[in-house]
Every structure is written in C-alpha cells, then in structure tokens.
Amino acid sequence: MPAPPPGAIDCDLHPAVPNLKALLPYLDDHWRDMVVQRGVHELDSISYPNNAPVTARQDWKPATGKAGVDLDRVRAEALDGFRTDLAICNCLYGVQLLYTEDMAYAFARAVNDWMAAEWLDKEPRLRASIVVPPQNPDYAAAEIDRLAGDKRFVQVLMLVMDEMPLGRRRYWPIYRAAERHGLPIGIHAGSSYRNPVTSVGWPTYYAEDSAAQAQAFQSTLSSLIMEGVFAEFPDLKVVLLESGFAWLPAHLWRLGKFWRGLRMETPWVDRHPMEIAKDHVRLTIQPRDAPPSPEDFERLMTHFDSDEMLLFSTDYPHWQFDGDDALPAGLSPALAEKICRTNPLATYPRLKEIVA
C-alpha cells in the first residue's frame, strides 16, 4: 500500500489543545475569570475519547497525556514523516459543545489565537482552519472577518452534527463570510451532541457511532444542496473531513432521483446533485472506507466520475492506518498526484499565496 508522493499537502492534521490551562492566556479577562470561578474543566468532546485506540496511533501516542500536543513530534511524525509540504490544522476542541453563545465565541477566539501563536508562528509548513461558534452564526462570521487577513488561515471549521442541518439559512452568515474571503468550509466528523448521533437514536457501541458519521455527512450534504447554499454562494467550496467517501456517489444518485420528481420544490437546484457536488464538494481520504481490493477501489473511482474531489489527509494523530500507508491501494500515480497536490491547491487558493 502506497505512501504519498513527496510534497503532498495534508488537509487534515489535528494539533490538540493539551488542556484548558493552555488556553487561559488567550481568553478575555472575563472568561479567564469565569473558567476559574465556575470551575470549568476540560472541554474535551466524546468524539475522540482519550483512551480509545482510534484517538492516537500507538507510535504517535505519548506516555502520558494527549497525542498531537507536541510541535516537535508533529514535525517529525506528521510533516517529515510523510514529506509533506503543507498541512492544514483542524483543532478539535469542545467549542461547539457549549450552550452559551458568548462563551463559545470566547473559546473560539482563544483556540484560534492559540493556534496562530503556538503552531503557525513556529512552523512555516502549517496552516489552520478558523474555529467558529456555530451557536451564533453572526459571531462566527465576525470571527472569520477578524482572522481572514491572516493568510495562514485557509478554511472555516464546523462539525457535521450541530443543532440543525447545516444547509439551513440560519448558518448562511458563516457561508457568506467564508465565500467573501475565499475560505472553504471544512465540515468535520463530530457532533455538538444536541441530537443523537444517528437518525434512529443513540447507538451502543463506538463502531456504530463511527460508521454513522457517514449518515450525518449524507444528510448534511443533502441539506447544503437542497437548501440552496451553492446557489446562493456560487464560489463556496465545502470540504468534508473524516467523512469517508465511498457513500457519496450512491447517496447522490438517490438524492438525484428524488430531485427529479420534486424539482419544483427546490427550483434553485438547477442541475443534478452529483454535478453540484463535483463543483463544490471535496472529501479527505482518511479515514478511508475499506473497499475489499484495489480493483474495488478503482471501480469506486469510476462512480465519482471526477478525479478532483478527493484530498490527501493523514488525520494525524488518529489511528486510521499504520506505517506510511496513507493512500488507498489502487490509485494510479497520476491520481495520487492529483489527490496529494493538485486538488488541495485548487481547493484552498490561499495555499498558493506566499506568506510573509
């Protein structure tokens, strides 16, 4: 199984906030006091429980504490390890879980300022996504506007499961701001836990939860397309992170079938959903679904009818593969080159800009 070619662009890397204390210098005075007075402790989501094997690959896991907190290890294991030119940091911290809009906004600002100071300032190969509080889209848009001048921020980060489907107009201020600044919306697996993580209720086992992320991405993609997000924001791109990708053609065939019969309900959807997805939607390759053989993977690629949709990712430090086996078997060298460099550069225009 193949390693990525040199010079790849890793579109999903996870530096971790080591603990709440690390964010205190980046919180406003009021919220720093509140954290202490209220006894707020760690804002870790249950998306990646610290002891779950998937949370950190064994050889990337420190003896104590979280993986992904140490810049030198990220350099050695994620950047040098895969000979990547650039990597996009998607910080998963519990900002989206908070029930107060104001506190979520404060923590989003803190996470972003921490990211700039602790990672981007120290390592020129790193880029990052802007963490926003989806609890209040106006705050989220303001945070995008605040940071958009820093070209090292190349994307806006949201979770796939929020209070309502992400296509709803409530969220449009976020998309308007992102489009205005040429920032794709990165939608990552995970939940704010306002709803069960499957549409049929809470599952019992972690394997169910993980597999069900694809359901959430399907529903989210349907929502974005049918609500008209891509009609309203024709220059917007959406990157699905840790979404898997084998489900996409079959789901959009199905959505397209219903669209044909119900077109007049959403007349702004002016072409087949698969065609809209080819123009606007990108997906990262880790964790990859597991077609049984390279031949099956090749056949799957023909269903996409596009070689522009997949983006390279390691999902470091999550344990999705071993060794340097970051690419699916069955990729032609030409397609590997597209996935690892051409497609990321086309998706994230800011990656081409020279950062002073």
Partner: protein, 130 residues
Amino acid sequence: MAKHVVGAAKDVPPGERLRVDVAGTPVVIYNLGGEYFGLLDRCPHMGGLLSEGIQIGLVEAPKPGCYSYDRAGEIVRCPWHGWEFDIRTGKSRFDPKRWKTRPVEVETAEVKDAQTIDVAQDGLNIVVTL
C-alpha cells in the same frame, strides 16, 4: 403520416386535455390557451400515463427561496414519479436534452364531408364498425 380526426375542437376548450388512441398509439392532447399540443401518452421514464398527471406552471428560482411561477398549466407531472415535462416541447425540466417525450403534431381543421360509418343493429345493440 396519415391524419386522423380524433374529436371535435369544441370538446377540448383551453385548459382541457383529451386522451385518445390514434391508430393504436396513446396520445394526450392539451389545449394551452387555444393552441393544441400533443404528447405521446407514455412517460419516457417508466411508462406512466401523462394524461393522468397534474398540470402545473413553470417554477423557477433566481435564488433560494424566491419562486417565480409562470406558464400556468403548461408543465405536466407524470403521476408515477413526478417528472415534469414541458407540454409545448415534450422536454423534461430536469434534463431536457436527455429526457423528453415525443411531441405529436395536432391541428384543428374543418372536416367538410361527414364520414360514413357502418352501423348495424344486432339484437338490442348498436354496433359501429371502423
């Protein structure tokens, strides 16, 4: 192609439709504002009878949430799966190049000579022979 008299124009006023068999071919005839248009009465998708579908207007959107509605009654939706066809052209709304139903030429004409048809009495029944 032979011309077939299928009915009296006055029986299909504007907004109405007529379903006829023409030499074994199912045809639905629509009167749109005084103009007649015919379609093969078979949806190109799965064969549903377009003559049983509802007629709606052309719904478009300059942007999400803004519906424009015109050409009332000029779009037929197949009763089976809801596919929309433009009655004037037979073309589907969602993919006009690929999916269309066959338009059938319809015209009105004054037929001056009455056609004679054999009629006979067979017991208590009147029997027409074509």
